[in-house]
């Protein structure tokens, strides 16, 4: 496990930004790490800005906010444009290339392209694009184990959505396949 990981997950309301952040936080919890998840969103249920920060550390965590994350997971173009300049030099930017163009101007960062909506649509459930991105991120950066994410689904998703756990597991695996290649 990494000593400390600061990841910012951004997109638009309705894309499941908060839930993948919570899933990551829960996975870190069951692996015994210290973790903080913090949300920031507008008053809209869908379509507004949605942003969350997850900090995972083996040490006690001070600030729950960061202006310079190590990693950015961007689900849409406007939010990618807003946050790509904030990533630490040498950081990693995961881009949902179904909806956003990779930020070529950040040639000091590693840019990982995942066509998450296309992959999710192939799975016949476009709503799982968030899980595809999360799977890709976890496989490459290994802040937690993919298995811990899967074990967290039943804790993080409300009971009436537990029927979607199998398709979410598949989406996590599909995302992981992209970055393990």
């Amino acid at each position: 496990m990494l000593k400390r990981q600061e990841v910012k997950i951004v997109g638009m309301g309705g894309q499941g930004i908060m839930v993948i952040g919570q899933l990551l936080a829960h996975a870190a919890l069951i692996e015994g790490a210290n973790v903080v998840w913090f949300p920031c969103y507008g008053p809209e249920t869908r379509g507004g800005l949605a942003e969350c920060t997850v900090i995972i550390s083996s040490d006690e965590i001070g600030s729950p906010v960061t202006s310079t994350p190590d990693t950015l997971i961007a689900m849409t173009q406007p939010l990618l444009d807003k946050f790509a300049p904030t990533v630490k030099p040498g950081g990693v930017i995961f881009v949902n290339t179904s909806l956003a163009q990779p930020p070529k101007y950040r040639d000091d960062c590693k840019i990982v392209e995942i066509p998450a909506n296309d992959i999710a649509t192939e799975l016949s459930n476009p709503k799982t694009a968030n899980m595809v991105m999360l799977g890709g991120y976890v496989e490459l950066m290994k802040p937690v184990k993919l298995e811990s994410l899967k074990a967290s689904l039943k804790e993080v998703l409300p009971e009436h959505n537990h029927r979607f756990i199998p398709i979410n597991n598949t989406a996590l695996d599909k995302g992981a396949e992209v970055t393990s290649r």
Partner: protein, 357 residues
């Protein structure tokens, strides 16, 4: 780690209230504290207690007034504009010498402001936001764990000092997810409440009141309140320190700002800048004596707040001219980041460390 659960600060407040044997919750919706009434609406009835959504904040605080009169443990929660509406009721509760707990998850202000995090209700909370000579014992959690731990403490303090106790949070502490251990290591003190209005039966008439027409009687009430505040100032000062011993400059910060400052202390020390963090946990009573002791090491201070500078006045009173007291603040819902605070420290550090040069 077996008992660790991931939850928001607002949710931990609710479990803490249950652990503190809260009998009644009265609330009214406002972001960023909505998780509290939402969770209380199931948690309280499930545990055989009362939860009621009032028709306004004014109504909710007066329901607290009523429930507290009967000797029950009562609480309310809200966020900045809602807490402003409650001030009249808080003053009445203080004058009627009733225990209760008030949770304020501060947002950006003034006015209706916004739903992001703020700390600009410090004056309102610790200097008495309502009218009259009263004080509110105030606890400021900086983690989800403390949100849980401080609720039973708040109810105990309210009973002991017979007055309102505030939990002063902000949108980040309330809404962030963090691990919390829902332990039961609390020694809840069941104080007799012979003043409670519970039906007269064989005893004398009990009167709960804040209207005292006779000025001499009203002065007596005030002197009784002040005597309790002096006791609280002696016994209930709480604070925490991080790397203060050898620090050249000590941050003074509470809640979310203190979390950010803790990170700045570590970042600065990697660069050889000796910073420390002093965190008042009780904002009233303020840990003035300890701050005065720290000045003897010759360090300077920097108050960091999500306000234009409120707690810094109490720091200056405590330091009393013995050292330099600087201030850094962001306001209106903006949370300062560790890097911007560190940059500001570097700008002023040399001057502060060598004031004569």
């Amino acid at each position: 780690m077996t008992n660790r659960k991931l939850m928001k600060g607002n949710e931990a407040i609710c479990y803490g209230a249950i652990a503190g044997r809260c009998d009644a919750f009265f609330g009214y919706p406002i972001t960023p504290q909505n998780e509290i009434p939402e969770l209380m609406s199931t948690l309280m009835p499930d545990n055989g207690h009362v939860c009621l959504q009032a028709e306004s904040e004014v109504s909710a605080i007066n329901m607290v007034y009523g429930a507290a009169s009967t000797g029950k443990r009562a609480m309310t929660s809200s966020s900045s504009p809602g807490i402003s509406l409650k001030q009249e009721g808080i003053s009445y509760i203080a004058a009627a010498e009733l225990p209760c707990v008030i949770v304020n998850v501060q947002r950006g202000g003034p006015g209706l402001g916004n739903t992001q995090a703020g700390q600009a209700d410090y004056f309102q909370t610790v200097k008495g936001g309502g009218h009259g000579d009263y004080k509110v014992i105030t606890l400021a959690p900086w983690s989800v764990q403390e949100c849980y731990d401080f609720m039973p403490l708040a109810f105990d303090l309210a009973d002991e000092y017979r007055g309102p106790v505030a939990i002063l949070m902000d949108a980040i502490i309330g809404q962030m997810l963090e691990a919390v251990e829902l332990h039961d290591n609390f020694e809840i003190v069941d104080r007799p409440k012979p003043w409670a209005v519970t039906g007269m039966r064989e005893r004398d008439h009990n009167v709960v009141n804040s209207l005292w027409i006779d000025v001499n009687v009203m002065e007596e009430v005030n002197l009784r309140l002040q005597a309790r505040y002096r006791e609280a100032e002696k016994n209930e000062v709480r604070y925490a320190e991080y790397k203060v011993e050898d620090a050249d400059m000590v941050f003074v910060a509470y809640g979310c700002s203190a979390r950010v400052c803790r990170t700045v202390v570590d970042l600065a020390r990697e660069e050889g800048i000796k910073l420390g963090l002093f965190r008042p946990v009780s904002l009233y009573p303020f840990p003035s004596n300890r701050i005065a002791q720290i000045t003897k090491s010759g360090c300077s201070f920097m108050a960091v707040e999500m306000s234009c500078g409120q707690m810094v006045e109490d720091v200056r009173l405590a330091v009393n001219g013995a050292s330099e007291v600087l201030f850094y603040g962001r306001t209106g819902g903006v949370v300062p980041t560790p890097t911007e605070i560190l940059d500001y420290v570097k700008q002023v550090y040399d001057i502060a460390a060598n004031p004569t040069s």
